[in-house]
């Protein structure tokens, strides 16, 4: 315990000055109370150790050892620099955040018709508290998850997206989070996103995370996505921060009756990455899709912990996580599926497939099914394998060289994830990252 206290000391002092500045800006009492109680949870829980079953394969010790400073200032990237993170010209709403703080000048946020709101969470906390308060921190288990608690303790800015009843946003919304640190000072930020999709609304949202600078940074992001009756939300999270970055994220999805949410998590960057994606099917006839892709090399460590809670009958869930690991990279997948006693007619399918390109890469995969209903269909499967030697020979025997054959098969492995991405610029960016990474890998070989 003593060890835990020392590690959290830095956050306690950060919180003290943070709280002081928030009180000075006249934040509402409920918000300050929420933060204070989240901090208490965090201090009670401490940083997890590998003795905790949920953290068995992922040690966060490297994160706890860095005296991160809470990012309060930021620099604006130039337009050319920004272009490299915005997929050229983004067709729809694009909100840009530097170290978790909304930048109106960098964002492209035309006024939306029909009461749709997409903008800064800080602004929404001030002007639309009646809409935010009932949902903020109401879904993720802030009292049990240390990183969710930590994010909530420091909640101040990020994105708020509000889709009123029946509203359809045609173009995808891009939330771009840029982390900026300096060599001399490592910074932490806690971006927060709240998506409230009312009945029959529809949107496609991409969160992407990138670094403005090389250097150690820590992003502790948290997204809460509420899809009310028959809402349709297609959500993507692209993490391509620097190879020195630490990244912990929580995506908490709450589905109402007949709601349909798919969330895709893509991890390319970061030295130590832990993603939580939790979906609760809280109304009959809901459908949740949790897909993921990780492409790691060197000493990268990526851990995806997912949970799907079938709380009501007649819900479907699909889960496909695919990983490509090279070098000494380490992957962890834990897929928990809970089927509650009255969640009859549940149909759930989970798949985790890993492709190992080197001798030293390693994966731990663990399906975790807890089924308390009897009339359900649940399947799961996990594979860890290398490129098929027979297939490589087959391609070579037709004149395709060894390197191209390896690339073709690696791309084919990723194909069934990549082809499902419905945002074209994202799909193209992922393809080019994959090709670039493959070429690097060949050079090292």
């Amino acid at each position: 315990m003593i060890e835990t206290i020392q590690e959290t000391e830095n956050y306690i002092s950060s919180f003290a000055s943070f709280e002081k500045s928030r009180r000075a800006s006249n934040d509402s009492a409920w918000l300050n109370e929420l933060r204070r109680s989240a901090l208490d949870s965090f201090l009670r829980l401490g940083f997890p150790t590998t003795h905790n079953e949920e953290w068995r394969f992922t040690s966060v010790a490297p994160i706890t050892k860095v005296p991160f400073k809470l990012a309060t200032d930021a620099r604006d990237p130039g337009s050319a620099e920004l272009m490299s993170f915005t997929f050229g010209t983004w067709p729809g709403i694009q909100l840009v955040f530097v170290n978790g703080t909304y930048s109106a000048t960098l964002s492209s946020n035309p006024a939306q018709p029909n009461g749709v709101f997409a903008g800064s969470l800080a602004e929404a906390l001030e002007k639309q508290a009646d809409r935010v308060q009932p949902h903020l921190a109401q879904y993720a288990s802030v009292s049990e998850e240390p990183f969710a608690a930590l994010n909530t303790a420091f909640v101040s800015d990020g994105a708020f997206i509000y889709l009123p009843k029946g509203c359809v946003v045609e173009e995808p919304i891009h939330l771009l989070f840029l982390s900026w640190g300096e060599k001399s000072e490592s910074r932490v930020c806690h971006p927060r996103i709240l998506v409230l999709a009312e009945a029959n609304s529809q949107a496609r949202i991409l969160e992407s995370y990138a670094s403005l600078e090389q250097g150690v940074s820590f992003t502790n992001a948290m997204t809460e996505l509420v899809a009310e009756e028959n809402a349709f939300v297609d959500h993507y999270k692209l993490q391509r921060e620097s190879l020195e970055a630490f990244h912990v994220s929580t995506v908490q999805v709450q589905l109402g009756r007949s709601a349909n949410v798919s969330t895709q998590s893509i991890s390319l960057g970061g030295s130590l990455v832990r993603n939580h994606v939790n979906a609760v099917l809280g109304g009959e006839g809901g459908e949740a899709t949790l897909n993921g892709f990780y492409l790691v090399n060197g000493r990268q460590h990526v851990d995806n912990h997912t949970s799907i809670d079938h709380a009501k009958p007649h819900c479907n869930s699909h889960e496909l996580y695919k990983g490509i690991l090279d070098g000494k990279a380490r992957g962890v997948f834990n897929g928990r599926i809970i089927v509650r006693p009255d969640a009859q007619k549940t149909d759930s399918k989970q798949t985790n497939k890993n492709l190992i390109l080197s001798e030293e890469a390693l994966v731990n995969t663990n399906p975790q099914l807890e089924i308390y209903a009897d009339d359900v269909k649940c399947t799961h499967g996990a594979t860890i394998g290398q490129l098929d030697a027979e297939a490589i020979f087959y391609l070579r025997s037709r004149g395709i060289d060894l390197e191209s054959a390896r690339h073709l098969l690696t791309y084919a492995f990723a194909g069934d994830f990549i082809h499902r991405l419905k945002i074209e610029p994202l799909r193209l960016a992922l393809e080019s990252s994959l090709f670039a990474r493959l070429a690097e890998g060949e050079e090292e070989r």
């Binding site: 098929d388 020979f393 391609l395 070579r396 025997s397 037709r398 060894l402 492995f413």
Partner: protein
Amino acid sequence: MLEIKNLHAGISGKDILQGINLKVNTGEVHAIMGPNGSGKSTLSQVLAGRETYEVTEGEILYHGRDLLEMAPEDRAREGIFMAFQYPVEIPGVNNTYFLKAALNAIRKHRLEPELDAMDFLKLVRAKLKLMDMDESLINRSVNEGFSGGEKKRNEIFQMAVLDPKLAILDETDSGLDIDALKSVAKGVNTLRSPERAMIVITHYQRLLNYIVHDFVHVLSVGKIVKSGGKELALDLEAKGYGWLEEPVSPVR
């Protein structure tokens, strides 16, 4: 074109080929027959360059060059094609994409211009017709979910597109119904030319009813024990392989 001299080869320490001698000239069609375990497939895999097989003795010359020194893709680019006994399923790799990449790798090696999508499609359509193949097959993943017959047709179709100088058919006839067998044979016969040589490896005489071959060799326990004209295949069909148990010196 191809000269195999005293070839010894095996897999994981087990000797399978024990001194194969064979000479194939341009324009010739050779049938190699033999019972299970005689080394037919080992021979075809060694010719195609499968690294799991180890050559312990002997040499193979292809147009005077040491074939065993060449990587599988270089052999293919120099005009060797093997139709697999068990074609590999490759999920996620589109048949058309794969074949275009292969053809253009070979054309590049031959210093010919690469084909664009339009010209490639034209070529592919012509060859599909030759093989009585449905166009939908080539838009699927390589061999994935294909029936046995579709896989074998796909092999001959690839051969037709890649236009090799030396084609090796490894038991392409095994497991085929008569219609599939006929279309495979039709493909092979159409591709027969004075510029091309073929080695047809088979367990059964049946395919040889449809493919016009010049020579038959009988493989037994890793050696060619008998060579002859096409009548030899009929003898084998009538008498089985039993009468060959006494090794006979190869006929040249």
